[in-house]
Amino acid sequence: MMRSLVIADLDKGQLAAATYHVIEAARQLGAPCDLLVVGEGCADAVTRACAIAGIERVLVADDPVYAASLAENLAPLVVAVSAGYSHLLAAAGSVGKDLMPRVAARLGVNQLSEVIGVESSSRFRRPIYAGNAIATVESDDPVKVLTVRQTAFAAVEPRGGDAERVELEQVIEAPSTRLLGEQRAESERPELTSARVVVSGGRGLGSREGFELVYQLADRLEAAVGASRAAVDAGFVANDLQVGQTGKVVAPELYIALGVSGAIQHLAGMKDSKVVVAINKDPDAPIFQVADYGLVADLFEAVPELIEQI
């Protein structure tokens, strides 16, 4: 019997958008689907989880020991509830990537990363080589452990369901790991991986002050802000804004790249965007090869003009 368990992605105790996309991947497996909500103070997330169309059961582990989403105690928890499931799925975000390989190793099975297509219950597609190739892979393992790239799947309906709520009694500590602190970026802007519009800045912005221009355009378009690795390394913005092979993967309706050259590692994170705009003063910048609309210009002149005209 096939049955899937999706590990919900939480953002400050709320159900993150990624969760709805991962459930769509699970739905494509054609099996009944349950959801595991684990964290601290996630009552609201649980209420929403129970309302998602197609979810049969919501397993709840709400305890302070899960506040930091550590793989050290989440993995044994997932393993403990895994009996009876043929598929375990999580979003390919920092929690899922940290957790799912550990779960798979404890179960003695392989794990498939960043799944972008479901071909059957055992056959999946995933990008390799920074997205320059797409592999079709098959797993014979009794349990398939997957992380799912959220941008490759639509979101399921958040309403219409009436799942049964199951409290997990067992609480698992992580005695060898202590949380010393977290620095979470506070932002009123849309979340990068689920935004409809993303404005990204690269080294071409020149400085932290120069990067303000990216924020101004983003505000105008109600867009999320992204960055190249060079912009993050130079300290223009925080690490969680990096788009690319080793940062976040985005696929918005509109992606505007300002002063980004378009290295393969950057393209890996944005080339599935619907419409790509590039503004760069170098006519030979590789970003123009993937841009639907390329403008060769000095961004410090073009962007203020753009802000004025929209």
Partner: protein, 253 residues
């Protein structure tokens, strides 16, 4: 304290890969190979720990055929003290090994070598799996610090700063522990000619799965490899006004 650093041989990050016309694989014939950039960062971090007197010995290890000795030599030239080559028939790919099999081999080696810290890359730039370190930690039941951009090694604990979705997270992990590196942990040193000479004299020990008592699990099967959907990009606009017009027409603004 001993630090173990698993390093992987991969395609050089500047090379643009091509899929073979029979869709069996990507074409790796005659392409430049190198140490995986994240592994290079891990070696650098380990060598700095020894230079700062916090680690006593840095041991590099690689799983693969004879050619992976080149990457072990790179690690030795960067300052690793010795290396271990776990020989598998061909590349991990053709040997059918996945991250689980690699992690099983590394776990057996950890039990023999007893390092206080295992430092891996967070991800290899070919398979892009981002799994091996977490699996190793799971198999050994060690604490894990993944995607780290900061590292402070103490006697009993290692403090790590992790790059996570919402920002940064700082953890203290009781040793022995597994840590995987992110890009911003350090900038690896430049290798000079004398370093390469010195590295030639450093030992590379040989072992194999049977010797480690491991029959590694087969990885998932790769049925086909295809190029991604091409993007129809390349159109230029002459002015901001023209750009805005197009974006309005496309109904994205």
């Amino acid at each position: 304290m001993k630090v173990l650093v698993p390093v992987k041989r991969v395609i050089d990050y500047n090379v643009r890969v091509r899929v073979k016309s029979d869709h069996s694989d990507v074409d790796l014939a005659n392409v430049k190979m190198a140490i995986n950039p994240f592994c290079e960062i891990a070696v650098e971090a380990a060598v700095r720990l020894r230079e700062d007197g916090k680690a006593s010995e840095v041991v590099a290890v690689s799983v693969g055929p004879k050619v992976v000795q080149e990457q072990l030599r790179t690690a030795l030239a960067m300052g690793a003290d010795r290396a271990i080559w776990i020989e598998t028939p061909e590349t991990p790919e053709t040997a059918g090994l996945g991250p689980l099999g690699i992690a099983q081999l590394l776990a057996a080696l950890v039990r023999e070598e007893q390092p206080g810290l295992v430092l891996l890359g967070k991800q290899s730039i070919d398979g892009d799996n981002n799994q091996t370190g977490q699996m190793l930690a799971g198999l050994l039941d060690y604490p894990q610090g993944t995607f780290v951009s900061g590292l402070e090694l103490g006697d009993e604990e290692v403090e790590v700063v992790r790059e996570i979705d919402g920002g940064l997270q700082t953890l203290a992990l009781r040793l022995p522990a597994v840590v995987t590196t992110d890009l911003r942990l350090n900038t690896p040193r430049f290798i000079r000619a004398p370093d390469i000479m010195k590295a030639r004299r450093k030992p590379i020990a040989h072992t194999a799965p049977e010797q480690l008592g491991v029959n590694p699990a087969p990885g998932p099967r790769t049925l086909a490899v295809h190029p991604p959907e091409p993007r129809a990009g390349g159109r230029r606009v002459e002015s901001v006004g023209e750009l805005v017009e197009h974006l309005r027409q496309a109904q994205v603004i």
